[in-house]
Amino acid sequence: MIRTGILFLAGFSVAFSAGWWSMPRILYREEPQPVQFSHIAHVGEKGGMSCEDCHSFRVDGTFAGVPKLESCAGCHSAPLGETQAEKDFIARFVEPGIEPQWKIYARQPDNAWFPHSAHVQRGKVACEKCHGDIGKSDRLPVYRVHRFTGYPEDVMGKRTGPLGLKRAGGMRMDDCVACHRQNRLEHSCLDCHK
């Protein structure tokens, strides 16, 4: 009886660990970013730029998001520094004029409407609240995309149940609703869904 119990526990723990380890790898695929990018090298004392220099608002209130190649080429028309990545960036993108296909960590589903203006300018929500500390990073985090839905991990979240294992910077509907509820802003589904 005890032997059966031990065998069952051993089998269970092996199967459980194998599933725990393998399921995220089965569900998510890693994709490389076109260029390795360092936020630290650009902002703060080192680079002297502010967030708004690259991530700006358009006149109609929409958020421009990730900067286009021309913003990068404004400084990087010729290699700055000696690194190989810098030379590669100039050769692959700036000189032929090819737009780098950045993978967006927080890309939202098609049916969600998220106005940056209302949150950042009116609501005074800090960028880090949703995007995490990516502005202080030296390297881009690994971009992992769900094999079935095509959505990045940061949108789907790492939480796989009631365990509450949540990755900082995840952007799920629950997170949106929780914040709206806290601020008594929850009115209608069509406030966020289009």
Binding site: N111, Q121, R184, H187, C189, L190, K194
Partner: protein, 245 residues
């Protein structure tokens, strides 16, 4: 989106359609479909299976025909579709007065279609199919619905959201002003869109000759029609009238 409370300035968006001006050209129907990513009907589509958020009906009154554009009436009181929806997929938004249909929640039971006295709701029988190249011209502000959901006019909610985004950017408070696609496209300028809290617009909606469809049902539609022709008013009034008490 604004906080609800004493300080909240809510809107009551409404539409005033001048039937004397409407000549039934159908520009509003096309503008509506283009704005809201409504796919063109397939060759086999019937009036029942084709998708139209806005339809223009022809009313034969003996004299000159009248044309009546009919879309979701955005009922304000006892919204029939909302009260029957088992999924809570229909919502009356207290901030805008717009009745929202949420495709993410819709089961496709079509109870709301049976409840709607205006037949303003349509069911999506098929996944949308676009003629080659047309998918590139889709409006990014409106998501494309999938089959199995009920759809309806929502006063160009995408445009409202765009106006809201602009207002937030400019630091403006209070209800925003925008124009739905049908009102903008109407060459006869028969469709007027406004806020019932705006005194001038509200007065225009209560002038002589303004009526609402099936007013006696008590659903409080926020689409108003105006005509100087008594026979048109008479022809619409008798339709589906309910005796109360």
């Amino acid at each position: 989106m604004r906080k609800l409370g004493a300080e909240t300035k809510t809107a009551r968006y409404a539409m005033l359609i001048d039937l004397d001006r409407c000549n039934g050209c159908g520009a509003c129907m096309v503008a509506c479909a283009v704005e809201n990513n409504v796919p063109p009907p397939q060759a086999s589509a019937t009036p029942r299976t084709g998708l139209n958020w806005l339809r223009v009906f022809r009313l034969k009154t003996g004299g000159r025909d009248a044309f009546i554009p009919v879309m979701c009436m955005q009922c304000e009181d006892e919204t029939p579709c909302q009260s029957v929806c088992p999924q809570k997929a229909v919502e009356f938004d207290p901030v805008t007065g717009i009745v929202g249909q949420i495709p993410e929640r819709c089961l496709g039971c079509r109870y709301c279609m049976a409840a709607c006295p205006y037949q303003a709701r349509v069911f999506n029988w098929r996944d949308p199919q676009w003629p080659a190249g047309m998918e590139k011209a889709l409006n990014p502000r409106v998501s494309v619905r999938q089959r199995g959901t009920v759809e309806k006019c929502n006063f160009c909610h995408g445009r409202w959201q765009a106006a809201l985004e602009k207002a937030a950017h400019d630091g403006e408070e209070g209800p925003v002003h925008y124009t739905p696609a049908c009102a903008e496209a109407c060459p006869a300028q028969a469709i007027r869109f406004g806020d019932l809290n705006d005194e001038e617009f509200a007065a225009a909606c209560h002038e002589q000759g303004v009526f609402r469809l099936l007013d006696t049902l008590g659903t409080g539609p926020k689409v108003f029609y105006r005509t100087s022709r008594a026979e048109v008013r008479e022809a619409t009034r008798g339709f589906g009238e309910v005796r109360r008490g």
